[in-house]
Point group: C2
Chain length 230, copies 2
C-alpha cells in the first residue's frame, strides 16, 4: 500500500502509516509525499517526490513502477520523517499567509517558514524521524510550495485572516478544504504528547480556534528570547 | 568583526571568514546572514537572521547588541555552515527562475529549491559545517526568500533566461548585480575541490557561461537515475 494521504488522526495523533498498520496488519507500506500541485503533475510538468519505505528494495521497485520522465521519486527509508512534513506544512502555510496578509513582508514569511521548518524537525525527531528526510521533498519541498504559492488554499486562508476577515466568513465563502484549520489543534496536541515546543503551530491554533488577537500573537512570538537555532 | 558579505573568493574558494582571518589574524569573527531584503529591515518589519560565532558567549553578546524588537538573531557556533547558504543560494535562485521563466511550474521550482538545498548541505558538510545550520535562517531561510520573490535579482535574471533572453542582453539592460552569475563557476570549482556533486549549480554554470542549451540541460537533470534523497 502506498499512502498518499497527509495528516494525523485527530483523536490519537497517529500517523497515516500507523492507522494503516492497525487496519491491514503487516502488509508492507510506503509513503508518497512531496511538492505536487495535482494539475501540474497531470499536465506532465516535472515534479519530484519522496518515496519512503522501510524496505529499501521494495521502495526502489515502487519508485521504478511509479516514476517516469517527469515524476521523479527520491528514495528514503524514513517513513516517520516523510509523514511529518505533510502533516505540519499546512499549519505553517496559514502562518505565512497571516504574515503576508497583515503586510509584515517577505522577510517575515521566510523567517516563519524557517522557524516552522525547525518545528517540523523537532516533531519528527521526537517521533523517530530524521532531519535529512525533513530537509527533502516531503518536508522542505512541500513547505516551500504551500507557503509560497497563491494557489495554496491554506496560504490564501491565512492571508485573508491577516487582512482582517473572520474565519467563519472565509470558510463560508469557499467550498475547498484548508486542512491546516483542522490540523492545527491536532499538531498542537501531538506536540504536547511528545513534549515538543511548537510556538508557531500553537499561535496559529490560538488565532484560529481560541479567539487570540493576531497582532498580540505576533508580538508574543517576537518577544521570545534570542536563542540557538537548533 | 561581524561579516555581512556573502560568497567565496573566486580564485581560492575561501569563505569570507577565511579571507578575513588572513587579513586580521586572530581577531574574533562572527557571521550575520539570513533572509533580509534591506528595505524591509529598514522599515522595521520583522526579520530573523543567523548570528554565528565560534565563541558562544561573544555570539550572545553580539546578538544582544544588534537584535531588537523586530530584528531577531538566532545563535549558532557553526560559522562554516552559516556561510555556505549565502554563497550558493543565488545560483539556485537563477535555476528556480529559469524553471519559472520556461513555464515548468511551481512543483519544478519547489523541487529545484529542495535539491538545491541538498547541494548546500553536501557542500557545507564537506567544509565542516552542519545540516542544522543550513536548515536555519542563513541557509533554508535565505534560499526561500531568494528563490520565491520577484524582488530577487538572481531569480528575475533566471526567469528572463528561461523566457529566452540572452545573458548579454539581460546584463546590458540592468544596473544591479546578480551575484549568482559570478558565483556559479566559483561554486562549481569549490565543489570539485571538495569532491562534492553539485548538479544544479553545474547546470546553471553551463547555461550561463558554457553555451549549454536550456532544454537539453533540463532533460539531462531529469534523466538522472532515481536515488536516495540523502
Amino acid at each position: 500500500l502506498v499512502i498518499c494521504a497527509k495528516g494525523v488522526e485527530l483523536e490519537s495523533g497517529a500517523l497515516m502509516s500507523e492507522v494503516a498498520h492497525e487496519v491491514v496488519g503487516d502488509r508492507p507500506l510506503a509513503i508518497l509525499s512531496g511538492p505536487t500541485f495535482a494539475h501540474e503533475v497531470a499536465r506532465g510538468l516535472p515534479s519530484a517526490v519522496t518515496l519512503a519505505c522501510a524496505d529499501n528494495a521494495l521502495g526502489a521497485a515502487i519508485a521504478a513502477a511509479l516514476g517516469g520522465a517527469t515524476l521523479r521519486p527520491y528514495l528514503s527509508d524514513d517513513m516517520v520523517g516523510a509523514q511529518i512534513g505533510g502533516a505540519l506544512k499546512n499549519v505553517m502555510a496559514i502562518a505565512a499567509g497571516i504574515a503576508i496578509g497583515r503586510g509584515l513582508g517577505e522577510n517575515a514569511r521566510a523567517a516563519i517558514m524557517t522557524r516552522g521548518f525547525a518545528e517540523m524537525v523537532r516533531l519528527a525527531r521526537a517521533k523517530g524521524g530524521r532531519i535529512e528526510t525533513l530537509a527533502g521533498l516531503s518536508g522542505l519541498g512541500d513547505l516551500v510550495l504551500t507557503c509560497s504559492s497563491a494557489q495554496s488554499r491554506n496560504f490564501s486562508l491565512g492571508s485573508a485572516l491577516g487582512g482582517g476577515e473572520s474565519l467563519a466568513d472565509i470558510l463560508a465563502a469557499r467550498e475547498s478544504v484548508a486542512e491546516g484549520v483542522t490540523s492545527a489543534p491536532a499538531m498542537v496536541a501531538l506536540g504536547k504528547l511528545l513534549a515538543v515546543e511548537l510556538p508557531i503551530a500553537e499561535a496559529v491554533d490560538a488565532v484560529l480556534h481560541k479567539g487570540a488577537n493576531i497582532n498580540a500573537t505576533i508580538a508574543t512570538l517576537l518577544a521570545r528570547p534570542f536563542r540557538p537555532e537548533y
